[in-house]
């Protein structure tokens, strides 16, 4: 009797096991390898076997490195600015363009094009547009009688310029998700709000945005994760310069690995980035969970009453 019962209970897990093992291996092996590498002084071009064990020295070195501090701040500034502006513009556009307007479907298609272009190309295109002499921006500014702006060549302008390009490319993503969320809102609740006396603005603030929230949180999270890892566009446009003004962390990782050839230190840097992204993601995740739990507690209290 007993073995059958065990088999009965184990069968589903046995079926799941191969997929689970492959998944676990595929996910954890690279991260494990990365972590191991981060504890060694491993130079590009030398076999790993020759690498010297370094303990936490790579991490200590990075955390004391002023370049890392600079890069960390650039990354945080870039990611948070980009996410906030993309959310505001994307959601705003979706709210404005929600109504059926003639030719809307064409416009929508045009609008999501930037998202589909390879980042390398986006970088190149924007680099040309920002060109101080031939770029469309400075040409236009000159035509209108304004001073040209040193878009990518000034430390003050480089980060905003890069941010603008990212907003151009990724706002459509927020727009599309927001539009889908808006269109799936319960129609009659919005009508009820109109009858209850809510103006367009009040409908947006009290009904539409709160109901879109679950989608918006996920959208912001996805953008946040992506923004922390952005590389190609900035690599092409500024290569981190001038100075360190646009050197986001993934670019610093790239340079550490393929310019300085310090694979161990690059691995440590990657792990730090991973932890940062993980902390942000978990915070947002736990925040939503805590909100749900608070709701559940209130409900439980009510049930008792």
């Amino acid at each position: 009797m007993k073995p059958t019962r065990f088999l009965n209970r184990a069968t589903p897990y046995l079926f799941l096991a191969p997929a689970g093992i492959i998944l676990l291996f595929a996910l954890l092996y690279p991260i494990g390898y990365l972590t191991m590498a981060s504890f060694f002084d491993w130079r590009m071009g030398t076999p790993f076997a020759d690498a010297v064990f370094y303990g936490f020295k790579n991490y200590a070195w990075i955390l004391n490195d002023p370049n890392f501090h600079e890069s960390f701040m650039v990354t945080i500034t870039f990611a948070s600015t980009v996410v906030v502006l993309e959310m505001v513009i994307g959601v705003g556009l979706a709210l404005m363009l929600e109504r059926p307007i003639r030719g809307m479907s064409v416009f929508r298609t045009i609008f999501i094009l930037p998202m589909m272009i390879a980042p390398i190309v986006v970088g190149l295109v924007w680099r040309y547009m920002y060109n101080p002499q031939f770029g469309i921006f400075n040409k236009t500014l000159k035509k209108w009688g304004f001073e040209p702006i040193p878009w990518l060549s000034s430390p003050d302008w480089a980060l905003p310029s890069v941010i603008i390009a990212d907003i151009w490319q990724w706002t459509p993503f927020i727009f599309i998700l927001s539009l889908a969320a808006l269109q799936s809102l319960p129609r009659s609740s919005l009508e009820a709000a109109r009858i209850d006396g809510a103006s367009e603005w009040q409908q947006i603030i009290y009904i539409k945005i709160p109901l879109m929230m679950p989608v918006l949180v996920v959208a912001a999270l996805l953008r946040m994760i992506d923004a922390f890892k952005v590389l190609e566009v900035i690599f092409i446009m500024t290569n981190g310069g001038p100075g360190l003004s646009t050197e986001i962390m993934s670019l610093q990782i790239y340079k550490t690995a393929f310019v300085s050839w310090e694979l161990g230190r690059a691995a440590a840097l990657s792990n730090i980035l991973l932890v940062i992204v993980l902390v942000i993601t978990l915070t947002m995740f736990l925040y939503t969970k805590a909100r749900d739990a608070r709701m559940a507690r209130i409900q439980a209290a009510v049930e008792q009453y």
Binding site: E191, I298, Q299
Partner: protein
Amino acid sequence: MSEIILENVVKRYGNVAVIDGLNLTMEDNEFTVLVGPSGCGKSTTLRMIAGLETVTSGEIYIGGKPVSHLEPKDRDIAMVFQDYALYPHMNVAKNMSFALRLARQSKTEIDKRVKKVAEMLGIEPLLARKPAQLSGGQRQRVAMGRALVRDSGTFLFDEPLSNLDAKLRAQMRAELALMRQRLEKNMVYVTHDQVEAMTLGDRIVVMHQGIIQQQGTAEELYKKPVNKFVAGFLGSPPMNFFDGILGESEGQLMVSGDGFTLPLPDEVKARIQARSEKAVTVGIRPSAFLLSPASGRQVQLELPIILSEYIGSQSVIVSNLGGQQILIEVGSDTPLTANEVLSFAIDPESIYLFDAEAEVAL
């Protein structure tokens, strides 16, 4: 002084007129029910009164004021939706107080009014819950409460009971009728359910294909339907219809068809004298078949039982007259066996006649 008047109201979607020149006056504090089959334009009419749909042409007056260009919020109305339309992210108290909060009422005033209405509807224990934690009937009450809290001059109901199960629906219907007695308000109620219409409405407006067929009290509509549509729509089981021809025999106006010849009352003869030999539609309600020997001017009909449905207080017999299926309603204590032939008496007074083509009552 807040009667609602619809004046030549037309609603078109493209070239299709959904509502075609509607004229309707609903008196102050009247409970008006718009009833009709789906697609008859009753909901569109209600939504135009609410301001959720624009009016293509014509005008709507609420309390003497033209409102067709006003936003819903400026029309002094409250509405209960079919799917309740609660705000999913707000708890019951917040749902109910939303309009008051938008109107910047004081917190004490809001609390007072929410509490009063919640007490009235028996939803006080639910105030902290979200709509997702409520049963259908509870959501229904909250939707009602949200409308009541506002104390508007006009209440609009868009099929508020049709998402409830039969038992709850009957219960809520009774509560609505009670509420209606306590509130001196205009109420406009849309339903496809004739029972709701007949039990709740002071005035019932039967609509079909965007046109008002007839309006009046339940009794007027039931006893004196102006056309075949109204006759067939009100009453359950529905009226039986047969093709017939008017004729005279020995000075008596008769209507005959496949399997029957029925005499008609003299006053009918006076009314439609010129029309003998005319094709008509004969209407007989299922309850007009009497299980008793014919007396006086009543006529005897022998009808077979094909099928009988026991529904508690009555039984409905499916029978056959001249090759056409008919429904007969009898008391449920009548013993019924399939294929048995029963003898029914029909009173000439209970026969309805309609023009075969125009379908208007004769």
